[in-house]
Subunit: 342 residues, 2 copies
């Protein structure tokens, strides 16, 4: 009865009966390699089968398929927080690439808490994922070592750790780009809002920055922080109290940078004018802020897609090489007003 297909209860058997064939033949036609199908049925029969499948609206039952083949075509993704736009954008990339590769994906938050990481990994494994993409790796790779010991295929994204395959941005370079920019502008009293010490992103961005300044013979004030606006706010408050003569602050994350802007203003200083501010990731927001924010653009979406593809190659058994994508400095007013002014 065409025109009324509820929950797609048309199976191989339905088609087999319609076409007067065996389910095995139908199966081979519908999901075999070109080679298999030619061995399984005559061209005419194959066409008929495909026609029936089309007409009946056949969709293979993924559970039956997974049960039989012991492959779920399912990938679990762990992130610190999905409501962090950075991770959400990366996940969009993962999801996109997954769809293109016939892999379903799902995300879970771990809030950067090892206990949650373990719990979520167990959950993913109980769903029989084929592999994991971890966006929440800590530098001490203890949870990762556990996963690896269990033989679960996985790749890292955004952050790297130990020598596990990863797709990251060249954060060290990104940090040094900001430092060079600041040096060009003549800033000698500068601070870094360095993010969390367990994340390679924050660490690399800040050490790229610090090292570059050090090469110029200048020491930099550094303070760790959460990766969000509040974290940036608090960190900047601290920096300004420690060194009231600061003229520039690099926050390793756009949201932290926004917090920095707030703290600067709260200190009675003019963001951008009295204290230059730069962020990282070049979020949508950066360009649209009342004070457009200088930021390092990192290819978030691409990182996601490349991570998925890297995982695919791991699943194929190829031994994978980590990838480090290039960042790009985007200069905006938040670091330009000071110069004009001095």
């Amino acid at each position: 009865m065409p025109g009324r297909y509820k929950s797609s209860s048309v199976t191989l058997k339905t088609i087999a009966q319609a076409a007067g064939l065996d389910v095995s033949t139908v199966s081979r036609v519908l999901s075999g390699t070109p080679d298999e199908v030619s061995r399984a049925a005559s061209p005419a029969t194959a066409a008929a089968v495909r026609d029936w499948a089309q007409r009946l609206g056949y969709h293979p039952n993924p559970h039956a398929k997974s049960l039989r083949t012991a492959r779920s075509n399912l990938i679990g993704v762990l992130v610190p927080r999905l409501s962090d736009m950075v991770l959400a954008t990366i996940y969009e990339g993962v999801e996109d690439a997954g769809a293109r590769n016939g892999l379903a994906t799902f995300v879970m938050n771990t809030y950067d808490r090892p206990a949650e990481q373990r719990a979520r990994i167990d959950l993913a494994l109980s769903r029989h994922v084929d592999g994991l993409i971890l966006g929440d790796a800590h530098r001490d790779a203890v949870v990762l070592d556990e996963v690896a010991a269990r033989g679960v295929p996985f790749v890292l994204v955004s952050r790297y750790a130990s020598k596990y395959p990863s797709v990251t941005c060249d954060d060290y370079l990104g940090g040094s780009l900001v430092a060079e920019h600041f040096l060009d502008l003549g800033h000698v009293k500068v601070g870094v809002v360095a993010g969390e010490s367990f994340a390679s992103t924050g660490v690399d961005r800040s050490s790229g920055f610090v090292d570059t300044y050090r090469k110029a013979g200048i020491e930099v004030l550094t303070v760790n922080s959460a990766f969000d606006a509040r974290g940036g706010h608090e960190a900047a408050e601290y920096l300004i109290k420690q060194a009231p003569n600061l003229t520039a602050i690099f926050a390793v994350n756009d949201f932290a940078a926004i917090g920095v802007l707030g703290a600067v203003r709260d200190a009675g200083l003019r963001p951008g004018r009295d204290i230059a501010v730069a962020g990282y990731n070049d979020t949508q927001l950066a360009a649209e802020l009342p004070l457009p924010l200088t930021s390092v653009r990192s290819p978030l979406h691409t990182m996601g897609t490349r991570a998925l593809e890297l995982l695919v190659s791991v699943l194929r058994g190829q031994n994978p090489s980590s990838e480090r994508l290039a960042p790009e400095l985007v200069i905006r007013e938040s670091t330009l007003l000071h110069v004009r002014n001095s």
Copy 2:
């Protein structure tokens, strides 16, 4: 061989053999109702089974279970964009509640494009989801009507449409709260950045606002926009050009509001001081902006959890009633400076 469990190939049969029982008994003990288990095995046997399951690290194979029961315990979630923090936060709520209810969830972007919506819904159905949560409903419920016609259980979240079950924020009320606030402050020349006309959120927020002003005998300038910073920026540019004497703008979304702040500044005006600005959703960012943003707090996470729970009740066959959660106005400097100044 304990200590070496790779991909959890311990099945009911493994346990049955270990305990010297039949798989059916083990199954009933492990996943029957208390009633069933007591009918299936003696307390001692049941304990032994559970003990073996524990010791062997048994995890039921979800594919086998789904195949057998024709229920996947899988929920598909559609959102316009996951990198929109608002939707990401709602999804976090969905995911949380899903985990609590033994339901797996996954999200997909539709970019508010009907073609994508249909494609993603098909994709979800081909994964045999038990139900859908749609965060991207359009007011003309044409895609929704199609889904309903196919008999797929679904609920809406964030936006409502037609008379489909939904969990939303009382956006009309939210808009009117802002209007009352603006009226209190004495603003008579005001504009609204109204969001997309196909989304109930934008429409309700702006009409709540407009109606309240109209009751006070004041007409309001309104312009539609995208829900992001750039959209807010462009819309505010337009408003300011149309009515240079504007003293307050309500943007139906925090990100749009940030764009508005930028546009105000670009127009050579002082945000907050020359033009008061209010947003919606009370995003993390709102409080931390250099100019803290007055915003309407909507219970995003809760909306997500309630939506999942509503879907659960739909799946149980109970006929569900939509839920409208209360918003709350959070007043900050972006609407306060003007007053002090006048």
